[in-house]
């Protein structure tokens, strides 16, 4: 399938004019990031605070500038490209609204900008999220502001929709509502969604493909399913766990007396699992959240080249 969006060796370096004089090096926000985004797929862009997720999304939509590398949006440069950008909706947690705008104003303005805007859908979402249409956006609570962004992102029905931390402050009911409406509308109107979030467990059933950023580097670019199969925790006697761990890459270990619980990366086929079980070792899948935590806190430096983890995992 043709990619709708692609990043080629994108780097972003901030050079502070004063700090560079006193010898502090430039800070690297993105380091040689390369990937492609396929049409009609839901992506999870994961990573810790400051990993570069927002900067990457801004560069993908031509709102920020890469220090080197390039971005292709529908095969073109996104910078100042109205024709391409009209099909993209980027809702970020820090989206600003003019002070005089009410909720209704914001929705009317958004309706003007997105060619596929569905106003009935927007109104039904306003009711679902119980937003007061006449209230000024500046007077909304954090969660309500997030809901407004979510409504714009969903009702825009853009061919590519980027959500950057879309639901900070939104309660569990609101978040569930977002997942439900997103999935339902995605089924009727397939499109590409890129979702950056910290609530990984909540979205793990939603996202089909994982992009994991760690300190500006893309360390995972893999389908969620294959990623899950390639990481397990094994629990059992220390000596047995040691034997199994030796054949794999160990990311983390908890010790409980003579019992060890290790998170391992590698290939675990049915035979291997059966052998482990025979030795009294329990093999369990790792949740996506655990996987991200283990990969981004691993003691050794993260793999440099893009897709390295992916390759290692599929060995």
């Amino acid at each position: 399938m043709n990619p709708v969006l692609a990043a080629h060796h994108v780097s972003k370096v901030y050079r502070h004019p004063v700090r560079s004089v006193i010898g502090r090096g430039p800070s690297v926000a993105l380091d040689d990031v390369t990937f492609t985004i396929a049409d009609q797929t839901i992506y999870g862009l994961l990573g810790r605070n400051g990993a570069g997720k927002t900067t990457l999304m801004q560069i993908l939509t031509g709102q920020n500038f890469a220090s080197s590398g390039r971005v292709e949006l529908f095969g073109q440069s996104p910078y100042e490209n109205d024709a391409a950008l009209a099909n993209v909706c980027f809702v970020k947690e820090s989206q600003r609204y003019p002070d005089v705008f009410t909720v209704a104003n914001a929705l009317r303005a958004a309706a003007l900008l997105f060619p596929e805007w569905d106003n009935d859908f927007a109104l039904s979402l306003v009711e679902d999220f119980q937003l007061p249409p006449r209230r000024r956006v500046s007077k909304l609570s954090r969660g309500m502001r997030s809901a407004l962004g979510v409504i714009i992102g969903l009702a825009a029905r853009s061919r590519i929709t980027l959500f950057d931390e879309p639901y900070l402050g939104l309660d569990a009911v609101g978040r569930q509502l977002f997942y439900d409406r997103l999935l339902r509308d995605y089924a009727d109107h397939p499109r590409t969604v890129i979702l950056s979030t910290h609530l990984i467990d909540e979205v793990s059933a939603l996202i089909e493909h994982v992009l994991l950023l760690d300190r500006g580097r893309l360390i995972v670019d893999a389908e969620t399913e294959s990623l899950r199969e390639q990481m397990v925790t094994v629990t059992g006697p220390v000596s047995t766990v040691d034997t199994i761990a030796a054949a794999h890459h160990e990311l983390h270990r908890d010790l409980l007396g003579s019992t060890a619980r290790a998170t391992l990366r590698g290939d675990f086929d049915a035979a291997g699992r059966a052998r482990a079980a025979a030795h009294g070792v329990q093999v369990e899948p790792v949740s996506l959240q655990q996987l991200v935590v283990r990969l981004t806190t691993a003691a050794e430096p993260a793999p440099v080249s893009v897709g390295a983890v992916d390759k290692e995992l599929s060995r």
Binding site: Q58, T61, G62, Q63, N64, F65, E80, N81, D82, L85, A86, V88, C89, F90, K92, Q95, R96, Y97, P98, D99, V100, F101, T102, N105, R108, A109, A110, L112, L113, F114, I152
Partner: protein, 234 residues
Amino acid sequence: MNRVLRVARIHLTSWRGAFGWPLSILAISFTVNLAFFASMGDNLPDQPGAHVTGGVVSIYVVQLIAAWQSMNQAFSFAVGLNVTRRTFYAGTLLVLAALSLVFGLVLYLLELVEHATGGWGIQLPFFDMVPATHGNSPLHVLVYAVPMFMLSCLGVFLGTITKRWGVNGFFAFTVLGLVGLGLVAILLSWLDRWPTIGHWLAGQSGLALLTGWILIPAVLLAGGGYGLLRRAIP
């Protein structure tokens, strides 16, 4: 519909923001002046020209600030939702020009009322405040509108500076600008060119200055603002 027009409509989404504030500030300024001069009535000489007020400037200041704000709030909103900077800028200037014309027309109509009522009954020249252009010609719409558009461009330019480099950048630019203007003034004094400039200014009609020449700084500010905005991040 063209995307530039869509951006223009976004600016007009809130009527309170686009028309409400400028007109109510103007109304308040007018009311205060009217009340003040009416209460002072007997203590002021009765001949024309004794009553001077700059109250109409209030709407110009409001428009300058509104233009300034638009480069911050509306820019972040629209470009954040993937309008290009070029389209945003074109739509913004279009709205500012249209608003200048609308407010110019409003001020002109009020000027006509002012003339017809003998300065609101107390010889108060609140709207007709530019002596060089007295008269009832409809061209007065432009006498009001073009300077307002120039100030809007100044607001856009200063707003862009603030967007790119923050408040510190704005102050640094202001200091540099004032120093630059000061140096030009010193240079002109040193070369003894002030009389030449004075003669040139005296040779121009008020109409030419306020509707023609003033467009030069407007275009320079608008062009400079666009150059700076092209690298701005919402």
